[in-house]
């Protein structure tokens, strides 16, 4: 109740602050459009500059056409480039109406260039004056990603802070995740029934973080499996996952003090083909009737086929993926589903290691930032559109800029 009151207080304070800010003076965002006459037009202006945020070898040429494109007989623009040192002139592309910008990617960082633009009207070329001398260069930082870097540093900083804090002994609260609590129950059930458990780490390779998340959970499950002396069966669809999974299970068996019970055949490669893999897994499910199925990793169209087959054989199923399109299928067909971030939190949750739990707390800071930004953004956009407030529009644009990478 107290927590709810605090949240309500915070929301009311934030709304009041935004309401006050909405009355602050701001810059006008609108400008009057001035129509120019087609006849008696001023000369076309062209400027060339080094393309920003790139790896060099590119110059951007930009021009403003005061209205030549509306003249009868307009055939487009022809761009010409001159190498200042050698004096060699090249005619570049002919660009149709609508183009006001061209990126020349055929330049060398070692040379300087000037550009001229010709407006082609019935064969009569109206040529602009040459641009200033320009040279392309490589940039050491992509300025468009400044906000991404700042936000990334804040989130990473928070993760590292909480990891260090957990190392010093700070107690961290972690909410209960039903799907992970059910792992022991599922393995225990398989032991009682004398049937194997089936583990699928998705259909992606080791370069997918979901596969790695699946394998980290496999480590914990394999330890329980080794302790309970149950059989684990893991078909995989890539060889690298096979190798990594074998090492993970082997280590779990060694940790559980039963290295003799480990067998390489627990993990078997089937095929890289998506539906070939599904057919094999479904066949294994129907023939071997595992008591528990774990589907943890990256899944695509095969998610529901596997989950429904598992359901039809009466296996207890724990699934988890970070593919939003597949989550509804798992929710519908499995007993427990780890939704998105829960898949990534699983390893830390199961290990109970303070350093790993600290990293989860750090990610919560990111969530708090997201919640505040969404709240501020919604309020600012609403006020801006309702009262045409320039200050609110400024806040809205700032937030858009912060979360845009383009």
């Amino acid at each position: 109740m107290i927590a709810l009151l605090r949240v309500a207080k915070f929301v009311v304070s934030l709304c009041s602050l935004l309401f006050i800010v909405s009355f602050l003076p701001g810059q006008s965002v609108y400008s009057q459009d001035t129509a120019s006459s087609v006849n008696n037009l001023p000369p076309i202006t062209v400027k060339a500059y080094d393309t920003e945020n790139d790896a060099g070898s590119s110059i951007t040429v930009e021009w403003s056409d005061p209205g030549y494109w509306r003249r009868e007989g307009f055939n487009g623009y022809r761009l010409s480039r001159k190498n200042v040192a050698s004096g060699i002139e090249d005619s570049l592309d002919v660009l149709p109406t609508g183009h006001v910008l061209h990126e020349d990617r055929s330049v060398s960082d070692d040379s300087s260039y000037t550009y001229t633009l010709a407006v082609l009207i019935n064969g009569a070329n109206l040529t602009s004056t040459s641009t200033e001398v320009v040279r392309s260069s490589k940039q050491w930082f992509d300025n468009r990603l400044t906000w991404v870097l700042i936000l990334g540093l804040i989130i990473c900083g928070a993760v590292i802070y909480f990891i260090e804090s957990a190392k010093r002994g700070t107690k961290l609260f972690l909410r209960r995740i039903a799907g992970l609590e059910a792992i022991d129950e599922a393995v225990g059930r398989a032991t009682e029934m004398g049937r194997p458990i089936l583990f699928i780490a998705g259909i992606q390779d080791m370069d997918d973080v979901q596969t790695i998340a699946g394998l980290t959970i496999l480590g914990s499950i394999a330890r329980t499996v080794a302790e309970y002396d149950t059989k684990i069966n893991m078909p995989v669809c890539t060889s690298l996952v096979m190798t990594a999974a074998r090492e993970t299970i082997k280590h779990a068996y060694v940790t559980a003090g039963r290295p003799d019970a480990y067998n390489d055949d627990m993990v078997r490669y089937v095929t890289n083909e998506q539906f070939g893999f599904v057919a094999a897994v479904d066949g294994i499910m129907v023939r071997e009737r595992p008591a528990a199925c774990f589907l943890l990793g990256a899944f695509f169209a095969e998610s529901l086929i596997m989950a429904e087959t598992g359901n039809s054989i009466g296996a207890i199923q724990v699934a988890g993926t970070a593919m939003p399109a597949q989550l509804p299928f798992f929710v519908a067909a499995c007993d427990y589903t780890l939704i998105g971030e829960e898949l990534f939190a699983a390893s830390a949750y199961l290990s109970g290691e303070p350093r790993q739990l600290g990293s989860l707390k750090g990610a919560d800071v990111g969530k708090a930032i997201a919640m505040i930004v969404i709240l501020v953004g919604v309020i600012a956009t609403t006020i801006a559109s309702a009262w045409n407030s320039e200050s609110m529009l400024w806040i809205e644009n700032l937030l858009r800029q912060m979360f845009s990478t383009g």
Binding site: W140, I160, G219, M242, G276, A279, A301, A333, A363, A370
Partner: protein
Amino acid sequence: MKREIPLIITFVAGVAFVLQYFIPHYPFNRFNDIFSDWFAIVGAFAIWLGALSLIKLCLLNISKKSHDWPISLLMIISFLSIVIAGAIDGFHGLNTVPTTSFRDPGTNFDWLYQNIYTPLSSTMFAILAFFVASASYRAFRARNTAATLLLLSAFFVMIGRVPLGDYLSGWLPERMQFSQWANWLMAFPNTAGQRAVMIGIALGTVSTSLRIILGIERSHLEG
């Protein structure tokens, strides 16, 4: 050292990938391509590990006459058929002018692919339609308030996505027709939910990546 070297490689590769995202300057702009090439090369060599493991397992099943050994035999026959067909077509193609690939139309490999693999693959995909029906039947049972809401949402989305929906609700003002209900459900509650999940996934990915780069999470490297 068996544990430290992979951790060092992970740290260096992880930091390099982060840097290449922000730095367009050479050589950082080439890191992504270079690492992708290395990964593809390592993966290509590793395919033999997988194939050999599969053959070994199947041969073991056949020799022991274990349960379902005919399936293992079928697997080996299929594997050898496609490999031999591809090899014959490949060597034959090298001697023709111009050279042809084993994957070109008209080859034995292509015949096996088009007439056996593709229909089998399509069959597996087609099964999905039946599984969607059975899963939907279970998911849409109105057992409690949340399930009832799900059922109603699904009803309006499905009926709003077919012409029958607008036919039945045609007497209502345009803004109240079923297709508009479906659009609203997809554009607002559904998008909001999806974005919440995606924000969680993004933060989870950052947190997991940091754990892996810093060597805190190492269970996938144990051995």
